[in-house]
């Protein structure tokens, strides 16, 4: 019961901050649409055909890339909430209530997840209907998005235990997300990494492997299900590990 109360509370506070909401919804949507329009134009002028089986492959790649990059940032909110509530003066009041600390942490994670997944659904839905992207096995996409978002929550929470300021959490989480995006098939810049690392170690890269961005034609043909499942397995392992690390640090550091 208390968990539902803290979750609702964090959701409410999140929506009282319109800038934050805009940043997490309009920004990725805007970037995706501009990218797709620009790419479609370039492809058209070059006479290239980027459609396959009536799916727009470039739009698919762009949507997934931006989507996962932003999902990997979504932990900023959970991290900031925990920072202002449990690392600053307010913790004295919240700890005085008959509620364990974990109830606040789980509430912040749940609220941040709800928001993150809603954004993902909106972006995927609009991209699907407006640009004919290939969603593949929808269950795989949903699970991949869920796991990347959850990993981001853990990263946000871990950083909130150590950060010196609320703003630092923003900076660190965004830097992680940008760097990973650049390493797995870039947004603006490209950091070259060996394929093995890209597809097995970097979370967004593993997510791309799961949803089939690296090999769209075989994915559309349905030949890659096993590989997708292996990728999902890796993501589950990573999320689990991050969850454990979060727990261990939380226990050692009773704020």
């Amino acid at each position: 019961m208390n968990f539902l109360i803290t979750t609702k509370h964090y959701l409410k506070r999140f929506f009282t901050n319109p800038l934050e909401v805009a940043l997490m919804t309009l920004l990725p949507a805007g970037i995706i649409f501009i990218n797709i329009l620009v790419f479609d134009n370039i492809a058209n002028e070059a006479g290239a055909d980027n459609m396959y089986n009536s799916y727009n492959l470039a739009a698919t790649a762009i949507t997934m890339m931006i989507l996962f990059m932003f999902q990997l940032m979504s932990g900023v909110y959970a991290g900031q909430s925990i920072f202002v509530d449990l690392r600053q003066d307010r913790r004295w009041r919240l700890m005085a209530a008959p509620v364990p600390m974990s109830t606040y942490v789980f509430g912040a994670i749940a609220a941040s997840m709800i928001f993150s997944l809603t954004t993902a659904a909106l972006i995927l839905g609009v991209s699907f209907f407006a640009f004919n992207i290939f969603l593949g096995n929808i269950a795989i996409v949903v699970v991949a998005v869920f796991l990347i978002a959850l990993m981001s929550q853990f990263i946000g929470i871990i950083i909130s235990f150590f950060a010196k300021s609320k703003g630092a959490i923003d900076g660190i989480v965004m830097a992680i997300s940008f760097t990973m995006s650049a390493m797995v098939g870039g947004f603006l810049i490209n950091i070259p990494v060996p394929q093995f690392i890209r597809e097995n170690i970097i979370p967004t890269g593993v997510a791309f492997r799961a949803v089939g961005v690296y090999d769209p034609i075989n994915t559309i043909a349905g030949y890659r299900m096993n590989d997708s499942l292996i990728a999902i397995g890796i993501l589950i392992g990573m999320t689990f590990l991050l969850g454990i690390v979060t727990l261990v640090i939380a226990r050692r550091r009773p704020f």
Partner: protein, 314 residues
């Protein structure tokens, strides 16, 4: 006793923030915890509320042992933090609702309590506004209100009047008396001697992490000083009047300062009345007053320090 702290030690590195602190809180009283900045008042309160672990000692509240994880005890305690700890992005009403719900209040019971608290701290008209639109006094009142929604049996207030205008301050002091009169036990922390003197039944004086003296104001003052200062302005001052006052037993000295006789006399000797009678016979009294030594003097005598450090600017 509603709560006791025995031999409590809290270290930060080599520094002892609480140095074998003993404190008893009686049911129904307003206990004033008085001490200068850095005395360890906030640390003591945090330990009592189960917000920090201590290195040594026993803390009991409502007959149960306090600890960080003791949810049972916390249900009936309320803390008004020294710092403003409300949510600035939520309205006053939403703040109160959230804190009430953390204590298990739901539905109509919650709404009723929120409404009552809003009235009590006089924020009903501003209930829908966010605290960043509030004045300092209003913010403090909300900060207090948030600790009252769940009707705690033991309310702990940590310097609730610091940085507040005198009018809001009186407001808060009145409120504390009202809360106590409804049966809530209150611990009131302050480094303002006048506040503690005005509202507290019992006082514990803290310095350097321990309670150095405790009791009622009269007990504390009586313990260190046995003299009153009586100031008399006579209608017709004369040397004969001074001589007659000097002859009263218990009067230690009579000094003329300007048009005022300053008389030092043993406390509790009833000399104020005798001096008045004599002065009436010598032509009348324009003004007479008797100063008790105050807590400030007690603190000064015990520690050789003043309560208020000059540098703090408060």
């Amino acid at each position: 006793m509603i709560a006791t702290m025995k031999n409590v030690v809290k270290r930060y590195g080599d520094f002892m923030a609480l140095d074998h602190l003993d404190l008893d809180i009686k049911e129904g009283e307003i206990l004033g915890l008085l001490g200068p900045n850095g005395a360890g008042k906030t640390t003591a309160i945090r330990a009592l509320c189960g917000l920090i672990d201590v290195d040594r000692g026993d803390i009991n509240v409502f007959g149960k042992r306090q600890s960080i994880n003791n949810v049972d005890i916390k249900q009936d305690m309320g803390i008004v933090t020294q710092e403003l700890t409300v949510f600035s992005d939520l309205s006053a009403q939403d703040n109160l609702k959230y804190f009430g719900s953390l204590y298990g209040l739901r539905g109509s019971q919650l709404m009723e309590n929120v409404k009552r608290v809003l009235e009590f701290v006089e924020l009903t008209e501003h209930a829908k506004k966010k605290p960043d639109k509030y004045s300092g006094g209003m913010k403090s009142r909300l900060n207090i209100g948030c600790a009252l929604v769940h009707r705690p049996k033991l309310l702990i207030m940590d310097e609730p009047t610091v940085g507040i205008d005198p009018q809001s301050r009186n407001h808060i002091l009145e409120a504390v008396k009202k809360i106590a009169s409804e049966g809530t036990t209150v611990i009131y922390t302050s480094h303002y001697m006048e506040e503690v003197q005005a509202i507290c039944n019992n006082i514990a004086i803290m310095d350097a992490g321990r309670v150095i003296a405790g009791g009622t104001i009269d007990e504390l003052v009586g313990r260190i000083q046995h003299e009153d200062t009586i100031r008399l302005i006579a209608a017709m001052p004369s040397e004969a009047l001074a001589e007659d006052i000097r002859a009263i037993s218990g009067v230690k000295s009579v000094t003329m300062i300007g048009n005022e006789y300053v008389i030092i006399s043993t406390t509790g000797s009833g000399n104020l009345n005798r001096i008045m009678e004599i002065a009436m016979r010598h032509g009348g009294v324009a003004n007479i007053s008797s100063d008790k030594p105050n807590l400030e003097d007690v603190f000064l005598t015990l520690t050789g320090k003043t309560l208020r450090d000059e540098g703090s600017g408060q």
